[in-house]
């Protein structure tokens, strides 16, 4: 105990440890019927931690070259002790993390937690969502199998649709005009250096902002508590909320373990740059709604290419969605009701198009 007290004193003299602990002890989390959605942000952060840890372990064996990538992943799966587990957890974890990030985003949207003063929290969160999707896209190519090669080709082809700078973006992403070994090296660099650096920065900013402004209460609950203060409930962040969060994290860990053991991530067949695209090439599920929308669009809409309008449309929608707090600035503090309708449509569109794309094959 003396040793612990000495360490605390040492830390307090240098970093204000006592003050930090006091803040943590006094931090509370509102408790209402929507409180379970508060776990989604922490879950995404936990899964990001899992990705970093498993990613570092994979880095010990992975070779980011066309001659070595597939073989190194095969080696990890077959020869490295528990390599199969680490690789599958990393691959499944990526998908689960993207799912929780999207769920977190929609929960913040519907609970209107982006309202003043939390606009920057929403902005930083949206940037983090795009970074997470970037992680998914860049990481998908790294096993260097046929599916990932052609999915990357299709995905980066979309970038070329952007007017004026489309070809430049395509060449920047691919490291050339085609998907080659240069693309693999570039995507690897983005996946293990550029994106983690940016993500760390924005996670830090996001967490600071969350701590600065506290947890948002949904407008309906807030109004109810104002009218009936005795109904307001709070939970201590430490240790009560954190223990609950730990339970959720352990459940997520168990789910990842089951997925890794029962449905290990497949190796596929090694990418062949000279082969034609295999039938049924499609992107990962989180891009399927865009892929399916572009398939629906006709080749020409008026004088414009259908794909171009589709890409621009999604870009515009993403921009509007990101700037949402500046559109929904209802002075009464409750937010505009019709925006919830737009959110329901967006969610239904995302889910519906994704399901349709899989059913339609």
């Amino acid at each position: 105990m003396n040793a612990l007290a000495n360490i605390q004193n040492w830390l307090d003299e240098r970093f204000g440890w006592d003050e930090l602990m006091a803040f943590v002890r006094h931090k509370t989390v509102p408790t209402h019927r929507f409180s379970y959605f508060y776990f989604l942000g922490g879950m995404t952060l936990f899964l990001f931690g899992i990705q970093v840890a498993t990613g570092i372990l994979l880095l010990l064996y992975y070779r980011p070259t066309p001659d070595g990538a597939f073989e190194s992943v095969q080696y990890i799966m077959t020869n490295v002790p528990f390599g199969w587990l680490i690789r599958s957890i990393h691959s499944w974890g990526a998908n689960v993390m993207i799912l929780t990030a999207i769920a977190h985003m929609f929960s913040v949207f519907f609970l209107k937690s982006y309202r003043k003063p939390r606009e920057l929290t929403w902005l930083s969160g949206m940037i983090l969502l795009f970074l997470v999707l970037g992680f998914g896209f860049s990481g998908y190519l790294l096993p260097w199998n046929m599916l990932s090669l052609f999915a990357t080709k299709v995905g980066t082809d979309m970038a070329a649709q952007v007017p004026w700078i489309g070809h430049w973006i395509l060449v920047f992403l691919r490291g050339g005009d085609d998907v080659t070994g240069a693309t693999l090296t570039r995507f690897f660099g983005m996946h293990v250096a550029v994106l983690p650096g940016l993500a760390t920065l924005f996670i830090g900013l996001h967490l600071v902002l969350v701590q600065r402004f506290g947890m948002s209460v949904p407008p309906g609950v807030e109004a109810d508590w104002k009218a009936h203060p005795e109904k307001a409930r709070e939970l201590r962040f430490f240790p009560n909320f954190l223990l609950r969060e730990l339970m959720a994290w352990y459940i997520a860990l168990a789910v990842l373990g089951c997925l890794a053991a029962f449905k290990p991530w497949e190796l596929g067949t090694k990418a062949d740059l000279f082969a034609s695209a295999p039938a049924g090439i499609r992107p990962e599920w989180y891009f399927m709604f865009m892929f399916q929308t572009l398939r629906f669009l006709p080749a020409k809409i008026g004088p414009f290419a259908g794909d171009l309008l589709g890409v621009l449309g999604f870009g515009a929608a993403a921009a509007v969605w990101t700037l949402l707090p500046f559109f929904d600035n209802d002075k009464r503090g409750r937010g505009k009701r019709w925006i919830a309708g737009v959110g329901v449509f967006a969610l239904a569109y995302f889910v519906g198009m994704t399901v349709y794309a899989y059913l339609a094959g």
Binding site: T78, W84, L85, R244, Y250, A254, C258, A261
Partner: protein, 446 residues
């Protein structure tokens, strides 16, 4: 010198501009001469009195410009008169179909090969049209059964037009051509599958139906492999004749080269020739060649060895043993494949072992080719090598299944551990909140 009239026009002929009048007269003369020179020629090129008449006839006599459109001869500028003679520029039958115009009319079947050969055997002439075409068709035809029988007076046999068509001849590499590889069997079958037509010749007429059930037909027609054999591949086209007993193996080994070499190195070649048996067809038949199975060899049901061998003779035992070795290796490959598939479905990566198993499949293929030597010592090494690989892959499959089982046990323990932690956390939360509630109650009472 120009002068203007009252209307202000530039010049006026009536005022005697002689040079201008001379110019106009000269131009008119030149135009008339040109017309008189070119008109007959143009008329001669487009005029075809043969078509003018025959397009209005019915039945076999009907020939129209449309029907000739695809004909290769017509495309090269060879018209009716090229074969039938006559003068197509005249509508007067007495002129167009006269002996003076060398009119030949409907050709006698016996004359057709020589008529076609007038161009097709003339290398210098064909060089100007299609240098890559052969020019030995007539000499080949004379050597064929069809040619020999035609020379004896049998006009029922095939001549050029029976296979290539008459007025709608297409190049052989045109998929619509009657001699395009996919269509050759049906073309030959027009006569050879007609039992009534072939009655006098005393040869089978089931070749087409047998061929259509063969693996060669499947490859050619269904899978589109144009290198697969059809009638002309084995029998020849212009020099068509059944290959002789001694030639059968040579014919088959133009494609199945290795099998041919193995057969030539084995004891069957001399034995079959002595017995007057035709090489490959003795075991594989000729027209209805099916995909061979291991059941073809040995002493079991469907084995061809029993056609010659009986129990106790020198070939009976080895045939049995060869069959046994092939089926043992096949069974071992299937067993290894099954276990590796099960391991893969259980989530264990077995790509390397599956790749290794392909070596055993290669050994199997080699053994099935070397079986044509009908010599045990030839196939033994490949069988043994294949069995060795299957043993190793079987062990790899067992290890993979064990690994899969180990992973699931590990998962069970991990999930149990996680459940214990969850229970612990839940109990801790319950205790904490019970303490908080009692602390709040004490404060309220105070």
């Amino acid at each position: 010198m120009q002068s203007k009239d009252e209307s202000g026009r530039g010049w006026n002929l009536a005022n005697g501009d002689r040079s201008r009048r001379t110019e106009i007269r000269s131009a008119l003369v030149v135009w008339c001469l040109a017309f008189l020179f070119w008109a007959p020629r143009l008329a001669a090129q487009t005029k075809n009195s043969c078509l003018d008449c025959h397009s209005s006839l019915e039945g076999a006599m009907r020939v129209t410009a449309e029907s000739l459109q695809g004909d290769i001869h017509a495309q090269k500028g060879i018209t009716c008169t090229g074969c039938h003679g006559g003068d197509a520029s005249s509508d007067d039958k007495s002129k167009s179909m006269s002996a003076a115009a060398e009119y030949r009319g409907r050709l006698d079947r016996k004359q057709i090969p020589e008529l076609c050969a007038k161009c097709h055997s003339d290398a210098a002439y064909m060089r100007g049209s299609n240098p890559s075409l052969r020019t030995d068709q007539l000499s080949e035809y004379h050597a064929s059964v069809h040619g020999q029988m035609l020379a004896k007076g049998d006009e029922k046999v095939a001549v050029c037009t029976d296979c290539h068509g008459v007025h709608d001849i297409l190049p052989p590499d045109d998929p619509r051509s009657s001699v395009y590889p996919i269509n050759v069997a049906a073309t030959c079958g027009k006569c050879h599958a007609n039992a009534e037509y072939m009655k006098a010749y005393n040869i089978p007429t089931d070749q087409l139906s047998l061929y259509n059930a063969s693996v060669h037909h499947t490859e050619l027609v269904e899978k589109g492999d144009l290198s697969a054999p059809t009638c002309s591949t084995c029998h020849g086209s212009h020099g068509a004749a059944p290959p002789g007993v001694k030639s059968v193996a040579n014919v088959c080994s133009t494609c199945h080269m290795i099998q041919g070499q193995m057969y030539a190195a084995g004891p069957h070649k001399k034995a079959f020739e002595t017995m007057g048996l035709g090489g490959c067809v003795t075991c594989h038949t000729n027209h209805k060649i099916e995909h061979p199975t291991d059941a073809l060899i040995g002493t079991g049901a469907g084995a061809v060895c029993l056609n010659c061998h009986i129990e106790g003779d020198t070939g009976y035992g080895p045939a049995n043993q060869m069959h046994q070795e092939l089926t043992d290796l096949d069974a071992a490959i299937r067993r290894s494949n099954d276990i590796l598939t099960r391991a893969e479905e259980a989530g264990v990566e077995v790509g390397e072992a599956q790749l290794e198993l392909n070596e055993a499949r290669d050994d199997m293929t080699k053994a099935r080719v070397e079986i044509h030597t009908v010599t045990l010592s030839q196939i033994d090494p490949d069988i043994q090598a294949g069995m060795q690989v299957t043993q190793e892959t079987w062990k790899a499959g067992q290890a993979a299944l064990a690994e899969g089982s180990y992973r699931r046990k590990g998962l069970l323990f991990s999930v149990a551990a996680v459940l214990l932690v969850l229970i612990g956390l839940w109990l801790k939360i319950r205790d904490l909140e019970a303490d908080d509630d009692s602390a709040n109650t004490k404060e309220e009472k105070q």
